[in-house]
C-alpha cells in the first residue's frame, strides 16, 4: 500500500526591504518561485500543463506553461519577480536622545553621558496574519549593555556575545501592534555621527503571497483501465460488460470523463460518462453495461483524468532598518578683546568678539553664551550686541540678560546671550562660525595685572535635548590685560606777590598731572589766613568755592579731568592786613565718574 499524495504546486515568495535610519523606505523587492513538486517516490507524472491566473501581478508574460514530465521525487520550477510597494508589517524605530520630554530628540552632546531610548514598533495594517516574527537589534559598542523593558508579546533577551537584542516568538494578527523599548546610554568621544545599531525584522505569512498568482495544474500518472465483456449466463449474444479504472499510483487521481464505443458495431457509443470521482491510490471505479453482439464485442474507450494537486503559498519577509545616525553636538569658542590691553585708571572703549565654531556634526538651533563682564567694566546695552551667523545678522530669537540687571560698574556681572530658532534661518551648520560682538568700557580698571572673564557656551538642537557644553574658557578664562600707568599729580604755590592795590596779594597756583594716566575729579584746596578776603581770580572761569572757617577762608576748585602732562595755572587775589602765613594747598583725586 503506497502513500496518498497530491502533487504540490508551491508558491514561495520572498520580500526584501531596506528602511533608512530615519524609517523611510529605501528599497523593496520581491521574488517568487513556483515549484511543481512530485512527492511520490515511485510514480512520475507527465503531460503536465500549468495554467496561471494573475500573472499581471508578476513579471511573468505567459499564462500557460508546459511542464511535461516530472519524475518521481522531482521538481519543476519557474521564477518571477513581483513589483511591491510596502512590506506587510510596518517596522519603525524611534531613537530618542532626551527621553525626559515628549518630543523626539536626535543628537547627542559631545563628552556628556546621554541616555538613549529606542522604541521599536511593529504594526500590521493588512488583513493577513503574520507569523513567527523575530526582531534583532544590534547594540553598538560604546552604548553599554541595554536595559530592556519586558514586551507585551513574545520573549526578549540580550545576547552579550553578539551584542544583539532578540525579540521573538510572537505573531501579529491583522490590525495588531507590538512594541519593544530598549534603554541605553552613550558618552560620545568623537564628533562623527554615531550609529545606534541596525534592526532586522523577519516574519512569515502562510497561505498568502504578495503576488496574486493562481495556478492550475493538469497532469496524469499511472492508472490501469480495462473493459471486461462476459456473455450473459442467461442469454446468448448478450454481453455483461464492466468498465474499470484502477489507480495504481500514489496520487489521488480524478476521473473526469469516460466515453466507450463498440468498435465491432460501427463505433456505436455504449457509455458516455462524467464521473468526476476521486480515486485514492489502489482504489478503483467501475461501470457496468450490456451490449448485444453475436461475437466477442470489441470496445474503444476514451477517458480523461488527472492527478490532483495542492497549492501551497507562503511569503517570507526580511526588513532591514539601517542604523539611526545620531549627530554629535560640539562647539568651541574663542574670545578676543580689542584692544587686548587697556590702561589702568582710564576709561577705554573696547570691543569683544566671541567666535563660536560648530565643530560637531549636528545642525544647531540654539546657542547660549554665559559671559562675564568683570568689575570695573561697563556692560553693553542689549541693542549693542550683534549676533552674526555666516554673513547674516541674526535678527530674531536673541535674548539678552544681565545679572544683576542694574549692577553698578564696580560689580562683577554675568551677561547671558541666548540665540534660539536658528533652524528658521537655515540652522547653525557644522563647519560654520557664529560671531557675537559687543562693546564694553574699561571704567578705571585697577592696576592688578588682568581681569579674568570666564565664558561658557552651550548649544542645542530643535527640539532641545541634553545641551552640548564648551567649558574650556570657563576653566581657563580669557583675560583683559591691564597696563599699569603711574599716577602722579602735584600742586604748588608760586611766590605770593603784591597785587595792584595796597594790601592786595596775588596767589598763583599750578597743578600738574605728572603721571602717565588721566586723573579725574581733582579737588584742590587752599587756605587764606584770617584777616584777608578774596578779591578776584584768574581766569574768570576759575571761581573758587569759598568756605569760612575760624582760621580763615578755605578756597576750593574742582577739575573734572587732567590729562597726562597737563599743567593748569590759575591765581587769586586776596586783600587784608596782617601777616600772610603761607600754607601749602592740598589736592585729592576722586574715582572715575
Amino acid at each position: 500500500m503506497g502513500e496518498t499524495l497530491k502533487v504540490i504546486v508551491d508558491l514561495s515568495e520572498k520580500v526584501d526591504c531596506v528602511l533608512s535610519g530615519d524609517n523611510k523606505l529605501k528599497s523593496i523587492s520581491a521574488k517568487g518561485t513556483l515549484t511543481v513538486r512530485n512527492p511520490s517516490q515511485r510514480n512520475k507524472i507527465w503531460s503536465c500543463e500549468l495554467q496561471l491566473g494573475g500573472v499581471s501581478s508578476t513579471s511573468l508574460k505567459e499564462e500557460r506553461y508546459t511542464v511535461g514530465e516530472v519524475p518521481a521525487g522531482g521538481t519543476w520550477s519557474l521564477e518571477y519577480d513581483i513589483p511591491v510597494e510596502n512590506p506587510l508589517v510596518n517596522l519603525r524605530e524611534i531613537v530618542d536622545t532626551f527621553p525626559k520630554d515628549s518630543e523626539v530628540n536626535w543628537a547627542v552632546a559631545f563628552n556628556r553621558l546621554t541616555p538613549i531610548r529606542c522604541i521599536i514598533s511593529l504594526t500590521n495594517p493588512s488583513d493577513i496574519f503574520a507569523k513567527n516574527l523575530e526582531v534583532r537589534k544590534r547594540i553598538p559598542k560604546g552604548f553599554g549593555d541595554p536595559s530592556i523593558e519586558p514586551p507585551q508579546t513574545g520573549t526578549v533577551e540580550y545576547i552579550p556575545e553578539t551584542r544583539e537584542v532578540v525579540w521573538k516568538g510572537f505573531d501579529l494578527a491583522p490590525g495588531g501592534e507590538a512594541t519593544l523599548a530598549i534603554n541605553m546610554a552613550i558618552k560620545p568621544e568623537d564628533v562623527k555621527p554615531i550609529g545606534a545599531g541596525e534592526v532586522l525584522l523577519t516574519y512569515q505569512v502562510t497561505g498568502s503571497t504578495v503576488s496574486s498568482l493562481d495556478p492550475s495544474l493538469y497532469g496524469i500518472s499511472d492508472l490501469r483501465f480495462s473493459v471486461e465483456p462476459a456473455e450473459s449466463p442467461s442469454r446468448p449474444n448478450l454481453w455483461d460488460c464492466t468498465l474499470e479504472f484502477y489507480n495504481t499510483s500514489d496520487f489521488v487521481e480524478l476521473l473526469l470523463d469516460v466515453e466507450t464505443f463498440l468498435v465491432s458495431d460501427g463505433r456505436k457509443p455504449v457509455a458516455s460518462l462524467s464521473p468526476d470521482v476521486e480515486l485514492l491510490p489502489q482504489q478503483s471505479w467501475s461501470y457496468k453495461f450490456q451490449v448485444e453482439s453475436p461475437e466477442l464485442p470489441v470496445f474503444e474507450t476514451k477517458f480523461d483524468y488527472m492527478v490532483t494537486y495542492e497549492v501551497r503559498k507562503s511569503t517570507y519577509t526580511t526588513v532591514v532598518k539601517e542604523e539611526t545616525l545620531l549627530p554629535v553636538m560640539r562647539v568651541e569658542a574663542e574670545k578676543a578683546f580689542m584692544p587686548a590691553e587697556v590702561d589702568a585708571y582710564n576709561k577705554t572703549p573696547m570691543s569683544v568678539t566671541v567666535s563660536i565654531f560648530n565643530v560637531g556634526s549636528a545642525e544647531l538651533d540654539a546657542v547660549s553664551i554665559i559671559d562675564t563682564v568683570p568689575e570695573d567694566f561697563r556692560a553693553p546695552t542689549p541693542d549693542k550686541i550683534k549676533v552674526i551667523l555666516g554673513d547674516k545678522e541674526v535678527a530674531s530669537g536673541v535674548t539678552i540678560t544681565l545679572e544683576p540687571p542694574s549692577a553698578p560698574v564696580e560689580q562683577h556681572k554675568t551677561l547671558k546671550i541666548s540665540v534660539a530658532g536658528l533652524s528658521k534661518m537655515g540652522g547653525f551648520k557644522p563647519g560654520q562660525t557664529m560671531k557675537v560682538t559687543y562693546p564694553i568700557i574699561a571704567w578705571g580698571p585697577k592696576p592688578k595685572g588682568k581681569y579674568l572673564t570666564p565664558l561658557r557656551v552651550t548649544c542645542n538642537i530643535s527640539p532641545p535635548g541634553l545641551e552640548g557644553e564648551f567649558v574650556r574658557l570657563e576653566e581657563k578664562p580669557p583675560a583683559i590685560e591691564i597696563k599699569y600707568a603711574r599716577r602722579a599729580v602735584k600742586i604748588f604755590k608760586e611766590a605770593v606777590t603784591p597785587g595792584a592795590e595796597k594790601n592786595q596779594y596775588v596767589v598763583p597756583l599750578v597743578i600738574v598731572n605728572s603721571g602717565e594716566v588721566n586723573i579725574e575729579n581733582v579737588s584742590v584746596k587752599d587756605f587764606v589766613p584770617s584777616g584777608f578776603k578774596l578779591v578776584s581770580w584768574k581766569p574768570e572761569e576759575f571761581q573758587p568755592k569759598v568756605e569760612e572757617t575760624p582760621d580763615g577762608l578755605v578756597l576750593s576748585w574742582f577739575f573734572a579731568r587732567l590729562e597726562p602732562k597737563q599743567e593748569i595755572q590759575f591765581s587769586y587775589v586776596i586783600e587784608g592786613s596782617g601777616r600772610y602765613v603761607r600754607r601749602e594747598p592740598q589736592i585729592s583725586i576722586g574715582p572715575l565718574t
Binding site: N346, K347, P349, K384, P439, E541, I568
Partner: protein, 234 residues
C-alpha cells in the same frame, strides 16, 4: 531757537534769527564747503589749515562778517584780503561778545595727541540763545574745557589729525555734553567704532550724525530738557 547747519567736514553754521556764526568754512578736496553768499555775521576759524580756514576771507568780505581766530589765522586772512576792520584776533580765554552771541576762545593743542602739530589752535565756545556749543576744530586735547557746561559738542573723529575714536569717546564721556555731533570723519570704520561705544561711554548724551546740508534745531525746552529736531531739507 538756534539752528545748526552742517556743510561737510568741519564746517557748521550756528544761527538764530538775529545772528549767524560760521565755524571752520574750509576747503574739501580743493573746493570751498561754504558759498560766499551764505548769510553769516561772525566767522570762527580754529586754526590755519585749508580744510578749516578755506574761503573765510572771501565770505567775510562778501558778508561783512567778523572773523575771530588765533593770531596766525587773522594774519593769514589779512594776507588773503579780508577787510582789516572785520578781523578780531583773540587770546586764549578771551571772548568776542555781541548782544546776541558770546564766543570764547579756548586754547587746545592740535591733534593727534601722539603727534601734535605746533600750529596755534582754538576751540570755540559759542553761547547763543542759552545754548552753549563747542566746536573743537582739530583739537587733540581737552585742556580746560572741563570747566565749561557744554550743550552741543562738535568733535572730530579722525586719528590722523584730531581725536582717535577712543579718545573722542573719552572726551565725550568726560565733557558730558547734551548732544554730540561728529565731524572731520575720514574713515567710516572710525565713526562706526565711535558710534558703537557712544551710548556706553556717554549714556546721558544724545547723538546726531549730520549729513552735509542737513539742519537741526536745538533748544532747551522749559529750561530743563535739551532737545534737537531735524529740519526739513531745503
Amino acid at each position: 531757537m538756534p539752528v545748526l547747519k552742517f556743510f561737510g567736514h568741519a564746517a557748521f553754521k550756528f544761527s538764530s534769527l538775529k545772528v549767524s556764526v560760521l565755524l571752520d568754512p574750509g576747503y574739501l578736496e580743493g573746493k570751498p564747503l561754504v558759498s560766499e553768499s551764505e548769510k553769516v555775521s561772525v566767522i570762527c576759524v580754529t586754526h590755519n589749515h585749508p580744510d578749516h580756514l578755506g574761503n573765510a576771507a572771501r565770505i567775510a568780505a562778501a558778508q561783512k562778517a567778523f572773523v575771530v581766530g588765533t593770531g596766525e589765522v587773522v594774519e593769514k586772512l589779512r594776507r588773503e584780503g579780508a577787510p582789516e576792520w572785520l578781523l578780531r584776533p583773540l587770546n586764549p580765554g578771551e571772548s568776542f561778545v555781541r548782544p546776541e552771541v558770546k564766543i570764547t576762545a579756548v586754547a587746545l593743542n592740535h591733534g593727534p595727541l601722539k603727534n601734535p602739530s605746533t600750529i596755534s589752535h582754538f576751540a570755540f565756545l559759542v553761547e547763543l540763545e542759552k545754548v552753549r556749543l563747542v566746536h573743537l576744530g582739530d583739537a587733540g586735547t581737552r585742556g580746560l574745557l572741563g570747566h565749561y557746561e557744554i550743550d552741543v559738542l562738535l568733535i572730530g573723529v579722525d586719528e590722523t589729525e584730531t581725536f582717535p575714536p577712543v579718545q573722542a569717546l573719552q572726551a565725550v564721556s568726560d565733557l558730558k555734553p547734551k548732544l554730540v555731533v561728529p565731524m572731520h570723519v575720514r574713515k567710516e570704520e572710525e565713526l562706526d567704532y565711535f558710534e558703537e561705544h557712544f551710548s556706553l561711554m556717554a549714556p546721558e548724551a544724545k547723538y546726531k550724525r549730520m549729513e552735509a546740508g542737513e539742519e537741526i534745531m536745538v533748544e532747551w525746552v522749559a529750561g530743563t530738557e535739551f532737545t534737537f529736531k531735524p529740519l526739513p531739507r531745503e
